[in-house]
């Protein structure tokens, strides 16, 4: 074999959270030696931190899975627990409180920085090398082309290496290169709404409380972060969003105060604001010959990235468990049976999310979309209105099914 050729069981395209978690999950659970490569066109993520660091909400189920993978101990000091949720509407009448104690848990979910999660996963991955397993990283080296053979898949890298594998995993995000090369179509639903996302700081401590308010212009969520910051997700009509984006920080803080109320006192700092259209993009197929799509490559729910990652964790848990079983039985890791099983299991979950999102948008005429907090922590029930409660109960998104 030529020097620039290498053989693996699994090649993972994408070294972000999903790809790294997938590598960790299979290597951790594999009872037989496993050769894995991670490929990413970008450099390895450098920890950025800072006031505006991007955070995601982890459901209790996702946190449990990260614990199982040995990541949680490294991550927990960076994560902020959501201990209770305060739901209110603009009339201040329909109020509800949900407390973690009602569910006999220490938290309903967590808010954690993306960087810290990635760093913790890679740190844990490092502890696994040196054993029977092999993990090679090809960073700053994207996929040039993919050639499918009956019994393997060949991945040609931009820097010339040729990797062959039994199975290729597309964990390469919303613009998935694997998905493009495999010519898998996507479907996009545009909800004609925008969301402004920013980290903000308030005078009063949040005390691990998350807020969801149904304001005139749309639902507004505040998720507790470390250093008494909050992560704001404010759903708005496109024109309202544009208007609020054009304001200076003082003007925006006033508008936010008016919409949110005084629950946390005056806003003392407004971080960098970002504006996203609310879109649900999903791949028409999750698998192809010797290829599976995971995470944002298979579904992107903007900008509620938290929910997206919880879905990704369930993709990882599902596929890692199928791969582990196949490895144990000496089966082909890229077999049609394994992949169609993955597709079948994950499609049900994905369809549920799409149905739920549609129902929320249509049944509540956009007023209750996206129930950011409740959905992010994957509550089994939200003690607010029977309609929402029923819809949320249908999903019970918080737990990793294996």
């Amino acid at each position: 074999m030529a020097a620039n050729q290498a053989q693996y069981d699994i090649v993972i395209s994408g070294g972000g959270l999903t790809g790294a978690a997938m590598a960790l999950a299979v290597l951790k659970q594999a009872k037989k030696p496993l050769q894995v490569a991670i490929v990413d066109s970008a450099n390895k993520q450098q920890a950025s931190g800072g006031f505006d660091e991007r955070v995601i909400a982890l459901s209790y189920g996702s946190a449990e899975y990260l614990h199982k993978l040995g990541v949680w101990d490294r991550l927990k000091s960076h994560a902020c627990a959501i201990k209770n949720i305060h739901v209110s509407d603009r009339t201040y009448y329909g109020k509800a409180r949900i407390d973690c104690q009602d569910y006999q848990r220490e938290a309903l979910g967590y808010v954690a920085p993306l960087d810290a999660i990635a760093k913790s996963i890679y740190a844990e991955l490092k502890t696994l090398t040196g054993g029977n397993h092999r993990l090679d990283e090809y960073f700053a080296n994207g996929i040039e082309d993919i050639v499918w053979q009956k019994n393997e898949v060949q991945v040609q890298l931009q820097q010339g290496q040729l990797l062959t594998a039994k199975l290729l995993l597309g964990c390469d995000g919303g613009q998935s290169r694997c998905r493009q090369i495999a010519k898998i179509d996507t479907e996009c639903k545009d909800y004609q709404q925008y969301a402004i996302v920013a980290n903000v700081q308030t005078t009063l401590p949040h005390n691990n409380k998350a807020f969801e308010r149904f304001t005139k212009s749309g639902p507004l969520a505040m998720l507790p972060m470390t250093e008494n910051r909050c992560s704001l997700v404010w759903t708005l009509t496109p024109s309202d969003a544009e208007y609020l984006m054009s304001m200076d920080d003082v003007g925006f803080a006033n508008a936010l105060q008016k919409a949110f109320g005084d629950w946390l006192g005056p806003f003392t700092r407004i971080g960098r604001r970002q504006n996203f259209p609310l879109q649900l993009v999903h791949a028409m197929q999750l698998t192809q010959h010797r290829l599976a799509l995971l995470g944002n490559a298979s579904h992107t729910l903007h900008p509620i990235a938290g929910q997206g990652f919880n879905l990704s964790v369930r993709d990882v848990a599902c596929l890692a468990s199928l791969i582990t079983k196949a490895l144990e039985n000496g089966d082909d890791l890229g077999s049609y049976d394994l992949l169609s099983r993955y597709q079948q299991l994950r499609q049900e979950d994905q369809q549920t999310i799409i149905r739920l999102t549609d129902s929320l948008v249509h049944c509540f005429s956009n007023q209750y979309f996206p129930l950011v907090v409740g959905r992010n922590v994957g509550l089994k029930a939200l003690n607010y209105s029977s309609g929402i409660k029923r819809l949320l109960a249908q999903t019970t998104m918080g737990y990793v099914k294996e």
Binding site: W148, K183, I184, Q288, H289
Partner: protein, 240 residues
């Protein structure tokens, strides 16, 4: 075109006229787009991975099924007698970057060229549009390799199919253009299976394709009384 070609020129003309609509998922062919994933997964459930399998779609029209099989890795040939749908199919495949070999050729002639050549032969929603469906089935059967599979779908000749496929689908709900189907050409499953088995195929599965006009969903389920889909296998020990 020679006179012994098994084709009804009026039928070809009908599909030529609406060719531009083939890939409009909300247009005249919307039902085909809706049932295509079901057809594909039915085929996959019997063949496993289609990767690298020699596959031919007979009466491929604008290529909805042919292209979807090529996308999952099959080596697909698509044949039809309508030039306009074939042009659309070729253009679409080109745009999508999917390789399908489209040819304008009667299936009987193709079968003479390539007997016992294909792992998978499909012929969907086509038999109800030709003068001599038995000849089509015979030709399809001849092209299947021993151990290979053939799939046929068409409309059953029942009162219910008249009410649903003609009265409801064409006249009332207008799911497909008026005159798309002629009930007299619908085929009973027993007849289709009889033709196929006398051509050396063995029926291995049958399912109905059902439409729910309320939620606009299609699903595969028992009950062959309207739209149905049959799977056949050519036994391995038999030479074609």
């Amino acid at each position: 075109m020679s006179q012994d070609v098994n084709v009804n020129p009026k039928e070809i003309e009908k599909f030529e006229k609406v060719a531009s609509q083939w890939w409009d998922t909300e247009g005249d062919f919307k039902p085909l787009h809706q049932i295509n994933p079901l057809r594909l997964s039915f085929i996959q459930s019997h063949c496993g991975s289609l990767f690298d399998l020699a596959t031919i779609d007979v009466g491929c029209g604008g290529g909805i099924l042919a292209e979807s099989m090529a996308r999952v890795g099959a080596n697909v040939t698509g044949i039809d007698l309508g030039q306009e749908p074939l042009n659309i199919a070729m253009l679409h495949a080109l745009e999508a970057g999917v390789e399908v070999d489209y040819q304008k050729i009667p299936v009987e002639q193709k079968a003479e060229q390539l007997p016992a050549h294909f792992d998978v032969v499909t012929c969907m929603e086509m038999l109800e549009h030709v003068p001599d469906p038995e000849s089509i089935i015979k030709a399809c059967a001849a092209m299947v390799k021993p151990g290979g599979k053939a799939f046929f779908s068409t409309l059953n000749k029942t009162t219910k199919s008249y009410l649903l496929a003609i009265v409801a689908a064409e006249k009332l709900l207008k799911l497909v253009p008026n005159g798309t189907h002629d009930w007299n050409k619908f085929i009973r499953p027993s007849q289709l299976i009889g033709w196929a088995e006398s051509a050396g195929l063995k029926c291995i599965d049958a399912t109905g394709i059902h439409y729910n006009p309320i939620n606009e969903n299609h699903k595969l389920a028992p009950g062959l009384d309207v739209n149905y889909l049959l799977a056949f296998e050519k036994p391995k020990d038999q030479s074609s």
